[in-house]
């Protein structure tokens, strides 16, 4: 315990960095993933194909490869950014595919009568999506989205290998100097990750409860 306290600033900074990374990635992934889901159910075939292709490719790509694209390939095309920025791009691009799947499953779970009724009162596709389908679909998608966000938080550790000093990076670096403290470090940092995991799952349970049909 004393050892963890001595290094608490390193560890807390690392978790802060991880939370910044995951926070931005969560925002972008949720927005892009929802747009992709709408594309995949739209009446315009090329939009549908684009959405389907994106999900098919990204779901079959390891996150590490996704990071390599953003940290070693794209910088050689003349784009520059901080490692944290690239990590946010990589994690968002990857997670968006899973958000899309969760939202699409939510859309499919909306009773078809809802869409038919929306059309019967003269709504366009955009209106029926925005006002009728998505509000219900997102509600149904809350539990799977919670799982996606938890997985994303755990996946943010991959950034440690690509120049972002977050939790796994802190573990790795501290072990280089204090190999004998391995179990203290492991338990401390693993517990830190678990706390955030349980916090995310509590938040999503709360959202699920407050959004339930009245």
């Amino acid at each position: 315990m004393g050892f963890l306290w001595d290094n608490h600033s390193v560890i807390l900074d690392a978790f802060g960095e991880g939370l910044i990374l995951s926070g931005w990635a969560a925002l972008f992934a949720l927005v892009v993933g929802t747009l992709l889901a709408v594309m995949r159910v739209s009446p315009v075939p090329p939009l549908r194909w684009t959405g389907t292709a994106y999900v098919a490719v990204l779901r079959n790509t390891p996150l590490v490869l996704c990071f390599m694209v953003f940290t070693s390939a794209i910088p050689h095309l003349g784009f520059t950014a901080e490692p944290l920025t690239w990590a946010i791009w990589a994690l968002s691009a990857y997670t968006a595919a899973f958000v899309c799947e969760a939202v699409r499953a939510g859309i499919m779970s909306v009773p078809r009568g809802q869409a038919e009724a929306a059309r019967a009162v003269g709504m366009t596709f955009g209106q029926s999506m925005r006002l009728v389908i998505l509000p219900q679909a997102l509600r149904a998608a809350v539990p799977p989205l919670g799982n996606t966000m938890i997985a994303m938080w755990k996946n943010s550790t991959v950034a440690a290998g690509f120049g972002v000093a977050e939790g796994a990076g802190a573990l790795h670096d501290l072990l280089n100097e204090h190999a004998d403290k391995i179990w203290t470090l492991f338990v401390g940092i693993a517990a830190g990750y678990m706390v955030v995991v349980f916090a995310i799952s509590a938040v999503f349970r709360l959202i699920e409860r407050t959004w339930r049909y009245a």
């Binding site: 315009v44 390939a73 050689h76 969760a102 799977p144 755990k154 678990m194």
Partner: protein
């Protein structure tokens, strides 16, 4: 599942014109993006033969082959052990004895909440000589995927209609017999596609092994990039290999799904999904 037609009416003449216009616009936008990417790659000299030259060298391909072999080896070992570990955990969670259930549930909750990478780093740091990179990767993947699979197994067994279990008990079968002779054979039908898609997740997760210096495909690729300074071409080659490999395994999962749902006339019980994307 894939039929989203209920979201809009069959288009009339005006809607058809609008859809056509939107399709053309999307097509143009996509083409513009594709052209921009190609132009950008060309401007930066990424199509110069020098950068692609290493891929004419058989020794580069044999290195890639070794990396791919290591990836497949770790994934195969991890899947086999994870299925065994998951089965044990699932048996524990389905047990009639409450303490056994608690322990199994606790193990699953803990291992699901710890990032894989943290487990790999810790295992490798704690037992560098005994485990080495390969077994650090395999053990971490085993406990993590085993915990996920135990949930699949449990849901699969619980998903078998309860009449089956009751009928088996009424015939005088024992607990273990009910499970192995009646419930499991039926549960496998719903579980197999999920198990196969979990193989894809494992295949992807072996790439995390680079942090403990496991020489898997992507780490080998990183070395090639640095040696030949051909970052973009190598990334393209690696992506092509990895994505096509995973897509074939995913395709296998879909085939299994279709084959199993055709195997019996009755609709299979609601399919189970693992909602964890993995890395």
């Amino acid at each position: 599942m894939n039929d989203t037609g209920f979201l809009y009416d069959a288009p009339g003449p005006r809607a058809r014109r609008r859809i056509l216009a939107a399709s053309v616009l999307t097509g143009l936008a996509l083409a513009a993006v594709a052209v921009w990417i190609v132009v950008r790659l060309n401007d930066r000299g990424q199509f110069v033969t020098d950068l692609w030259e290493p891929f004419n060298d058989p020794s580069v391909w044999s290195t890639i082959g070794q990396g791919l072999g290591n990836t497949l080896k770790a994934a195969a070992l991890a899947i086999v052990f994870a299925i065994a570990f998951g089965a044990v955990l699932a048996a524990g969670r389905l047990s009639d004895h409450a303490p056994v259930r608690w322990v199994a549930n606790l193990v699953v909750e803990v291992f699901r909440a710890i990032p894989l990478l943290i487990m790999m780093i810790a295992l490798f740091a704690a037992f560098p000589a005994t485990l080495g990179p390969l077994w650090s990767v395999v053990i971490a993947l085993t406990v993590y995927n085993g915990s996920l699979l135990s949930e699949v197994f449990r849901a699969g067994v619980n998903g078998v209609p309860s009449g089956q279990r009751e009928a088996a008990f009424a015939l005088g079968l024992r607990k273990t017999q009910v499970l192995t002779l009646v419930l499991l054979p039926q549960a496998v039908r719903t579980m197999l596609p999920v198990i196969i898609s979990q193989c894809v997740v494992t295949l992807k997760d072996t790439a995390l092994g680079r942090i403990v210096t496991y020489q898997e495909l992507l780490l080998v690729g990183s070395t090639i990039e640095v040696t030949y300074q051909n970052y973009v071409p190598t990334t393209i080659v690696l992506a092509a290999i990895y994505v096509s490999l995973n897509m074939s395994v995913s395709g296998l999962a879909q085939l299994a799904q279709r084959w199993l749902s055709r195997a019996r006339k009755s609709a299979p019980p609601a399919s189970i999904t693992v909602a964890e994307p993995g890395a």
